[in-house]
Every structure is written in structure tokens, then in C-alpha cells.
């Protein structure tokens, strides 16, 4: 197991190296980027003693962008590995600082959504599987399909329209109310919580469908297996069959999948956060990406890729841990 893990980690590092190189090439070639804007601004300042191209060359040298793609990439890689991610251009803060400022909001938002997702999707999926081809089953299938098919931006806009504009229960966007500063500590927490309601609902609805279907499929498979038939034949009560025999076995793929999605809780919800102006990592990275803020974007995308690879690894390891039948090849 340890050997397998080490092998996978090394392998992930190689993939990460190439993924980041591709992204670096993309960012490097971005025209009208931050440095060009900055150079133009500096050159047009009163009393500017350098022309636009001189400033650009200066800035490129300052930010290490004058070394060419390959050398530039290695420079970036070297400082990144030593933990020096540079300063964000768009946020004028050290990248890690901005990350620290934002990631916890994203994490809380994702965690709330994740818990509700589990509480809603798994029971629904199981009850749908228990009564295959019943009304519940069709209903669940259709609901799951609608949730999967809902574009995030449309759902977010719809929720805003109904709950913020028409009913006026929540603010349209933002993370704090107007009177945030005057509230007590507890009131401030409640205020932020209130602003997190609509984004959470959006995330829950978007993600619920997939998990529901996954649960249903796996439960169905388990229910059709021989040992369930045996249990029933031996006269085990239906309740026990479902809860003890079937559900526990359904948990194997579920835990594997959910374990794999745990790192994703940190990755932030790009669209949802942007639409609701939640100052999470998704929103921060969206702003950085549109402004060609190379240090922060590179950091965020590296972070995202690491989370993806980590998720895959956890998922595979859990599969081996949960299911005794599976042995991971060294």
C-alpha cells in the first residue's frame, strides 16, 4: 500500500509538471495582459521618462517574463516548489495571503453544500432503488436529471430573482449586509450565514442529481445480487435487508466517490461565487484570470490540479481500504 501510494504520488507529480507547463504556456502568451496594461499606464503618467516598450521590457524583467517560455517556467517552478508563489498582480497581496483570505469562505460554502447533498441525495437514491419503476423512482430520476441539466448561472439567477427580488428575503449578492459594521459578533456571523443561503442552495441543487443517480444505480446493483436474494430467502426482515445488507454494500462505491471529492471542497465554486459575489477562492481566481494575473492564476490552477490528483488518489486508496476484495497492484 505504501509503495503504491508513493508510486502514485510520484506519478501525480509528473502529470502536474506537464499540466502546469501547458497552463504556463497559455498564460505566458496572453496578450493585453496585466504587464502591458501596467506599462501603458506607467508610460502615460506625467513625467514618465520611459516609453511604453521600455517600461514593458523593464516590467518583464522585473516579473521574470523575459526569459522565454521554458526558462520562465522553470524559474516559476523553482520558486513555487520552495513555497514562494510571488505577489498577486490583481490583488496586490502575496498570493498565499490572498489564498488564505478567501479559501475558508469557499470551504465553508462547499462543506455546507456537501453535508446537505449527502443528507438529501443518498436517502432519495436508496428509496428510488428500493421501488424500481415506481412513481418515487420516476420522480427521483426526473428530479435528478433536472438538477444535472440546470446551468449554474441560470439556477443562480432564478434563485436571486425569486428569493431576492420578488420575495426580498435575501440580498441579491455580496457577503455582508449594509449594517454589517454595526452588528454584534454573533449578529455578523448570522449576517454572513444569511448571505450564504442562496449560494449553498445553488450548489446543493447542482450537485444533488449526480449523487442521487449514483446511489440509485449502485443500490440497484446490490439489491439484484445473489446474497440479497439469499438473505430474503432466509426470511431476514426487509428493513434489515435494506439497512444492513444492501446499504452497507452500497457504501463501498459511495465512500470511494465521496472520499475522492473531499479535496474538491477547497477548490471553490467559480461560477456560483462570482454570481453571488462571495469573496471565496473561485471569485478571486475568476477576477485574476480575466485580468491575466499570472502568479495567482498559476497558483490557483496548480492548487486545483493538485486537488484533482489528490481526489483520484484518495478515491483509489479508499477503494482498496473499504472493499477487502480489492487489492491494489504495486
Amino acid at each position: 500500500m505504501a509503495k503504491y501510494t508513493i508510486k502514485r504520488l510520484l506519478y501525480s507529480a509528473i502529470i502536474l509538471f506537464f499540466v502546469m507547463f501547458l497552463i504556463y504556456v497559455l498564460m505566458y502568451n496572453m496578450p493585453g495582459g496585466f504587464l502591458e496594461t501596467k506599462a501603458r499606464e506607467l508610460a502615460s503618467r506625467p513625467g514618465a521618462n520611459k516609453s511604453y516598450s521600455e517600461w514593458l521590457a523593464d516590467l518583464n524583467a522585473q516579473y521574470g517574463m523575459d526569459k522565454g517560455i521554458v526558462l520562465g517556467y522553470f524559474t516559476w517552478l523553482k520558486s513555487a516548489v520552495t513555497g514562494n508563489w510571488g505577489d498577486s498582480w490583481a490583488w496586490t497581496l502575496p498570493v498565499t495571503q490572498e489564498f488564505h483570505n478567501t479559501v475558508w469562505y469557499s470551504f465553508i460554502l462547499s462543506l455546507i453544500s456537501f453535508i446537505f447533498e449527502l443528507l438529501i441525495a443518498i436517502p432519495l437514491g436508496i428509496s428510488a432503488a428500493r421501488k424500481q419503476y415506481s412513481f418515487t423512482d420516476y420522480f427521483t430520476t426526473v428530479v435528478a436529471m433536472v438538477c444535472i441539466s440546470m446551468p449554474t448561472f441560470f439556477l443562480a439567477t432564478l434563485l436571486k430573482y425569486v428569493f431576492a427580488v420578488k420575495l426580498g428575503w435575501f440580498d441579491i449578492s455580496g457577503m455582508q449586509g449594509r449594517d454589517y459594521g454595526e452588528l454584534s459578533r454573533f449578529g455578523q456571523i448570522l449576517d454572513i450565514a444569511k448571505h450564504f443561503v442562496l449560494p449553498s442552495i445553488t450548489l446543493i441543487i447542482i450537485s444533488i442529481g449526480g449523487l442521487m443517480r449514483y446511489t440509485r444505480t449502485n443500490m440497484l446493483e446490490v439489491l439484484n445480487s445473489d446474497y440479497i436474494r439469499t438473505a430474503r430467502a432466509k426470511g431476514v426482515p426487509e428493513k434489515e435487508v435494506i439497512n444492513k445488507h444492501a446499504f452497507r454494500n452500497t457504501l463501498i462505491p459511495l465512500v470511494t466517490m465521496l472520499g475522492g471529492s473531499l479535496p474538491g471542497l477547497f477548490s471553490g465554486a467559480l461560477i456560483t461565487e462570482t454570481l453571488f459575489s462571495i469573496r471565496g477562492i473561485g471569485y478571486a481566481s475568476y477576477t485574476s484570470m480575466t485580468q491575466a494575473d499570472i502568479p495567482f492564476t498559476m497558483f490557483y490552477l496548480a492548487f486545483l490540479s493538485i486537488l484533482t490528483l489528490l481526489g483520484n488518489l484518495i478515491s483509489d486508496l479508499l477503494y482498496g481500504a473499504v472493499d477487502p476484495r480489492v487489492r491494489l497492484a504495486d
Binding site: L16, G32, M145, I148, F153, F154, Y161, V165, E221, T297
Partner: protein
């Protein structure tokens, strides 16, 4: 018989018929047809079996019907729909506007009389203040000097009409106390250079007072006059004296002149004549200078009068204005633009111009009514009506008033007067409100009927889903947008599948290092975060200002390249298991070419799975595309896609007020994606009923 035409049902029936003919029976003991009788059991081909299973799935059928309707709606709908995707709709609307401004004209405007005479700019800019001070002082003539000291002459022609021109003048004398420079004294040589007449004996007196060693300014009294000597340099000392009374600058004149000059200066008159000669007086602080006007040439005529032609909107040339003003108080006749006119003063406040036939042509007044933009396009009647209303208002001491008038409708975009189909100007009765501002001018406000772009029109009979922010019909945008959105979905999925089949097929079939390289590539592409990359790409294309269609193609290509990894993995996995099956060994042993083995034997067996993944993938691509377009990073306006339509009302206020635009589009996206997913699900169940969902 070729295999493809072989019909199993027919063959079985034939066989049965032969059996019956041979004396076998197809009935059981009870006289009923046997259960396995060919006329009872129909053998279905695999394709028909799939189809039968598919249409038994209600959700799949619902999805298929929805898709068919959507395709008809998007691809056939526009052919039968009256409006295009970029057709802008307009409407008549009423808007409170500042229609016009009425005010007493206070500025004097110059019109060129003689272009050959050059006027200094400083003189022109000073004209308004000069004329105003001439009015206050009651002067008829004023002599002014340019920067270079050249004299110019302003003359009053009549009420509110002045000319300015170059003049030839000669300084005659000064009257009153004045400091005159007599000349330069050189103490080293002891010589005095007089500018004008020499003063006898002054040189000797200066020699005494100012020597080589003198450093400070000196005052020398000589024959009762105080001379002051100022050092300019070692050898140049300027000698000035304060003179009183009448001092000639050049030749002396007779006593008649002196009397007239003294009288004029005492009275503060600006001009006087002696005999034929005309003199102008320019007043300084303590003295007055008299100039003789030898000749003068008027260059421009200045006036506060503003011309209003009787004909609406007629533009009168500067030549006309100059001619009319210049001749108004003299000959009364002038020619302009090849026509001859007569002009007469009408009381104090107006000039009236008649054309060659003696008809009223235009009127000069100091009261100007102009469109708020400053343009002179209002009817003379309206101007007069406004003037009358204002006079009434002032008589009653009110600051605001109202009047009614027929105003032309206007197109807000072009500013052109709206016309009906026959080209007649459209009028409508308008109530004009006149308000006096604190600055004294009068503003005319009215609800003007204008022809504007019909933005954000609510759903109506003409526009079932209303119009959007650009005045486009939303329903037609949705139809055309559907074309692009569906097309993007299909193209991307096709590209993805194509790349995936090739890469996965190669990897799966060859194995070894090919498999190794391709699968590592797959891993890398699997790990690439696609949404952030599409956002970066969108921002990049924004910066490069690419065209709408170029963007569309690049976006499709990028989405396709990002998505192939999944397909490749699927194809490879399938091929790895299929490769070991007997039919492939058979294919290999019959010596079929590698290419044919992959593409004719392996791939067709992967097809069912691929079709299912592709169908369900289209939904995902449509969501991706609309999300990007919604963020403004995908397809751009004015090309319609479902995402751009929602993007146009993405701001909070637009979202709140124009729900009729984005809700239908959003629902349509949902329906499309749901339909693709249902069909994909149905296909999977139909292809392999036992497979995991």
C-alpha cells in the same frame, strides 16, 4: 443471397411452409398454434430490438420529442418567422425633452464684409467689450490698437450694428497731462538725441546734472519744466518730461482745430470733425490723444441681431447676414448668394429683409429662439409664438408659461424628422412649457414624440417574448441562438469523439509504448481544469479582439480538445477487452489489414457506448457554452446564442425587470440538456438492458 438482405423472419416462414407442405402441422393438441410457431413469434434484428426497447422508455420518448421540436424550432422556425436575429425594432415614444432655448442675445457676432482686410485676433476678441463700453459711453467711433500697435477703427452704423476695420491714422496731439519722452542723453559724449523738436539749452543743463560718474536717476529743472533722467545703460539716459495742455506730436494745426479738440476732450467726445478732416480721441488716464482718421476700411460687421428666415430651417449664409447688417442703416440694398435684397430697420429692435419681389424674407432681432442643441431648425411661426408667450409672461410677471404647437416627430437616432410613407412630415400637437431660468434665458420643455429603438419591450402580439436591450425580437434571437448552441454542442462532441476514437483506438490496439504515451496524455488532459482554461482563453480572445465567428471556432476547437481524454479512455478500455475475443482472433487470422481491423471490427463494437456518452455529453457542452457566453467570454454579441441572450440582462436591475427575456431562454437550455440526457439514458438502456445505469 447476400447476408445483408437476409431476412430471418421470411426464411423461417418459408421453412414452416415447407414443413406444412410436407404434412407437418403447426397446431398443438388443442387445435391452437404452437407457442414457437413462426407466425406467432417475430424475430427482430438487433437494431429493431434496440429501437423497440427505446420507445418503450417514456422518458426517452419525451426527450426525443423535445429534441425534435427544438430542432424544428431552431433550424426550421426562423424560415417561417417574420423577424431576423439582427433586426432592430423601433417605436414611437413620448419623452420629456429640452426642446429649445429662447434668450435675448447678448453677444455681438462678427460677419466678414471684406475678406482682404486682415484683423488681428486680439482686436476681434476684444470687440464685444469694446462695443459694450462704447454703448455705455455713448461713443460712435473708437480707435483701438492691436498688439503690434496698429490702429483699428470701430464705427457704429446704427442701433446694434458696428463695423470694425483697419484705419490709417496719424497722431495729432495730446491734450492734458502726459509724460512725453524727449530723447536719449549720452553723458559720456554730452550729447542729446531729441525725438521731436529740440529744446535749446537743455543739453547743457543735462551735462551739468548727469556726468560719467552719475549712477542714480536725476531730476533736472529747466525753464520751469521738470525733466527726469533715467539710466538705461551707461551711455543711454532717457529724458522725459511731464507736459500739460495741448502738445502736438508732429506738425502744428490751426486755432480752429485746437478749439474743437479742446472742446471735444472736455466733453469727453470720441470724435469730432474740423472741415473735411475727421478726428478720433483716445482717452488715457490723465490725457487724451487725438488722431486724425485719414482713411478706414471696414473688415467685419458686428451685431447682436440674430436672423430668422421666414422659411423653416432655411440656412442663411454669412454673406447674407453681413450684407444685410452692413447696409441696413445706409443704402438698404445688398446682394448675397447671387440674389438682391432690400433691408429696412423696423423700429429700434429689428431689421426686416425683403427679397427681390418685395416679399418678407428674413428678420433680424436680438431675441433668439433656437433648438436646445443650438441648431436653427424651428419654424418662424413657432419662434414668434414663443416670443409672444414670453412677452405675455413678462407682462404678467410670471416665470413660466404654456403654449400649444404642432411639433414634428423626430427619430431619436438620426435626429431626422419622422415622415409617413408618402414622405410627409409627421406632426403632433404638443404642449410646450416655457420656464425662465435664473440666468434669464427661457427653456422650452415638451413631451416630444420621438421614434426610438424599442428596447426591453414587454411581450405583446408583435413580439411574443418582447424585445431585448438592442431592440431585437427575443423569440427570433432564441431561434437563431438555438442554431448556434445546438451546433456548438454537436461540433464539439463530434470533434471530441473523433479525437477520442483515434487516440483510444491506437492506444488500445497497439498497447506498449503507444498506449503508454497516449494514456499519459490522457491523464494530463484529464487533470486540466477545463472551466478556468476556457475563461483564460476567453479573456485572451477579448484582448486580441477576435471576430465573432473566429471566437466561435476557437471555442469549439478548445472544448473539443479538452474533452477527448474521456472518450479515449472509454474506447481504449473497450478495445482492450474486445481484442481478446474470438472474432478478433478470427479477423487477425483471415489477414485483414490493421486499419480495417480497428475501424471496421473494433470501433463498431464500441459505437453503442460512444453514442450514449456523446448524447449525454452534448448537454454538458451546451451548458459550458452558455455559461461562457453568459460570462461574456464565449460567443459575442451580436451573434445570438442562448448564453448571450441571458448575458444581455445579467445585471441585477435588468435581471429583476426583464424576466420575460431570460426565463424562457434559461428554461429552453434546461429542456435541451434534459432531453439529451433522457435520450442518452434511454439509448443506454436500450443497447444493453443489463448494464449499470
Amino acid at each position: 443471397m447476400s447476408i445483408s438482405k437476409y431476412d430471418l423472419n421470411e426464411a423461417l416462414k418459408k421453412q414452416k411452409a415447407e414443413q406444412i407442405a410436407n404434412g407437418e402441422t403447426n397446431l398443438n393438441e388443442n387445435g391452437e398454434k404452437k407457442l414457437d410457431d413462426v407466425t406467432r413469434v417475430k424475430v427482430l434484428s438487433p437494431g429493431r430490438q434496440v429501437f423497440k426497447r427505446f420507445i418503450r422508455n417514456r422518458l426517452a420518448v419525451f426527450g426525443s420529442v423535445t429534441l425534435i421540436i427544438l430542432f424544428l424550432f431552431s433550424f426550421v422556425g426562423p424560415l417561417f418567422y417574420a423577424y431576423g436575429q439582427k433586426q432592430i425594432f423601433r417605436k414611437y415614444s413620448s419623452e420629456r425633452v429640452n426642446y429649445a432655448l429662447a434668450k435675448e442675445n447678448t453677444a455681438y457676432n462678427g460677419y466678414e464684409v471684406d475678406g482682404s482686410v486682415e484683423l488681428e485676433r486680439t482686436v476681434r476678441t476684444a470687440m464685444n467689450s469694446n462695443i459694450k463700453s462704447m454703448i455705455v459711453l455713448g461713443e460712435d467711433v473708437r480707435i483701438v490698437f492691436g498688439k503690434e500697435g496698429d490702429p483699428y477703427l470701430i464705427r457704429k452704423l446704427g442701433n446694434e450694428v458696428y463695423t470694425v476695420g483697419t484705419a490709417e491714422t496719424e497722431e495729432v496731439c495730446t491734450i492734458g497731462e502726459s509724460v512725453t519722452s524727449l530723447g536719449i542723453f549720452n553723458p559720456i559724449k554730452g550729447q542729446m538725441n531729441f525725438k521731436g523738436n529740440e529744446v535749446d539749452g537743455l543739453e547743457a543743463a543735462l551735462k551739468k546734472a548727469v556726468t560719467k560718474k552719475t549712477t542714480t536717476d536725476q531730476e533736472v529743472e529747466f525753464e520751469g519744466v521738470l525733466y527726469s533722467v533715467k539710466k538705461k545703460s551707461k551711455i543711454e539716459w532717457e529724458v522725459t518730461a511731464v507736459m500739460d495742455g495741448l502738445n502736438y506730436a508732429g506738425d502744428e494745426k490751426d486755432a480752429a482745430f485746437e478749439d474743437a479738440a479742446n472742446e471735444a476732450v472736455e466733453a469727453g467726445a470720441a470724435d469730432f470733425t474740423v472741415g473735411d478732416a475727421e478726428y478720433a480721441v483716445s482717452y488715457g488716464k490723465t490725457s487724451a490723444t487725438v488722431y486724425e482718421i485719414l482713411s478706414d476700411t471696414p473688415a467685419q460687421v458686428y451685431s447682436r441681431f440674430i436672423v430668422d428666415a421666414y422659411e423653416t430651417g432655411k440656412k442663411l449664409s454669412d454673406e447674407f447676414k453681413a450684407g444685410a447688417l452692413y447696409n441696413a442703416y445706409t443704402t438698404g440694398k445688398f446682394e448675397a448668394d447671387g440674389e438682391s435684397f432690400t433691408v429696412k430697420p423696423d423700429g429700434e429692435e429689428a431689421l426686416i429683409v425683403y427679397d427681390a419681389d418685395g416679399k418678407d424674407y428674413a428678420e433680424f432681432t436680438t431675441f433668439a429662439v433656437r433648438r436646445y442643441s443650438g441648431e436653427d431648425s424651428m419654424a418662424f411661426d413657432l419662434k414668434q409664438a414663443v416670443a409672444e408667450t414670453i412677452v405675455e409672461m413678462q407682462a404678467e410677471g410670471k416665470k413660466s408659461g404654456k403654449m400649444n404647437y404642432q411639433l414634428p416627430m423626430q427619430d431619436s437616432e438620426t435626429g431626422v424628422v419622422a415622415r409617413d410613407d408618402e414622405g410627409n412630415v409627421l406632426y403632433n400637437d404638443t404642449e410646450i412649457e416655457i420656464t425662465q431660468r435664473d440666468t434669464g434665458e427661457f427653456v422650452l420643455n415638451c413631451d416630444q414624440v420621438i421614434y426610438i429603438i424599442d428596447r426591453f419591450a414587454s411581450p405583446s402580439k408583435d413580439h411574443i417574448l418582447g424585445t431585448d436591450g438592442d431592440g431585437f425580437d427575443v423569440l427570433s434571437r432564441i431561434m437563431y441562438g438555438g442554431r448556434v448552441s445546438l451546433m456548438v454542442g454537436f461540433v464539439v462532441i463530434f470533434l471530441e469523439t473523433f479525437l477520442g476514437i483515434i487516440m483510444g483506438g491506437l492506444a488500445g490496439y497497439y498497447g506498449g509504448w503507444v498506449d503508454m504515451v497516449i494514456m499519459r496524455l490522457v491523464d494530463i488532459f484529464y487533470c486540466l481544469p477545463s472551466m478556468p482554461i476556457m475563461i483564460i482563453l476567453g479573456a485572451m480572445m477579448d484582448a486580441m479582439r477576435l471576430g465573432t465567428y473566429v471566437r466561435l471556432f476557437i471555442m469549439m476547437a478548445a472544448l473539443g480538445i479538452m474533452g477527448w481524454a474521456g472518450v479515449a479512455r472509454l474506447v481504449r478500455g473497450q478495445i482492450l477487452s474486445l481484442r481478446e475475443q474470438e472474432f478478433m482472433i478470427a479477423a487477425e487470422s483471415t489477414g485483414i489489414k490493421v486499419k480495417d481491423r480497428i475501424f471496421h471490427h473494433l470501433i463498431p463494437n464500441v459505437m453503442p457506448q460512444l453514442i450514449v456518452t456523446a448524447t449525454m455529453g452534448i448537454g454538458g457542452v451546451i451548458i459550458m457554452e452558455s455559461t461562457l457566453s453568459f460570462l461574456g467570454l464565449g460567443v459575442k454579441h451580436p451573434l445570438a446564442t442562448w448564453g448571450t441572450i441571458i448575458n444581455s440582462v445579467s445585471s441585477s436591475s435588468a435581471m429583476a425587470h426583464y424576466a420575460f427575456i431570460w426565463i424562457p431562454v434559461g428554461l429552453l437550455i434546461c429542456f435541451t440538456v434534459i432531453a439529451f440526457n433522457f435520450v442518452g439514458d434511454g439509448l443506454r438502456d436500450a443497447y444493453d438492458p443489463k448494464a449499470k445505469r
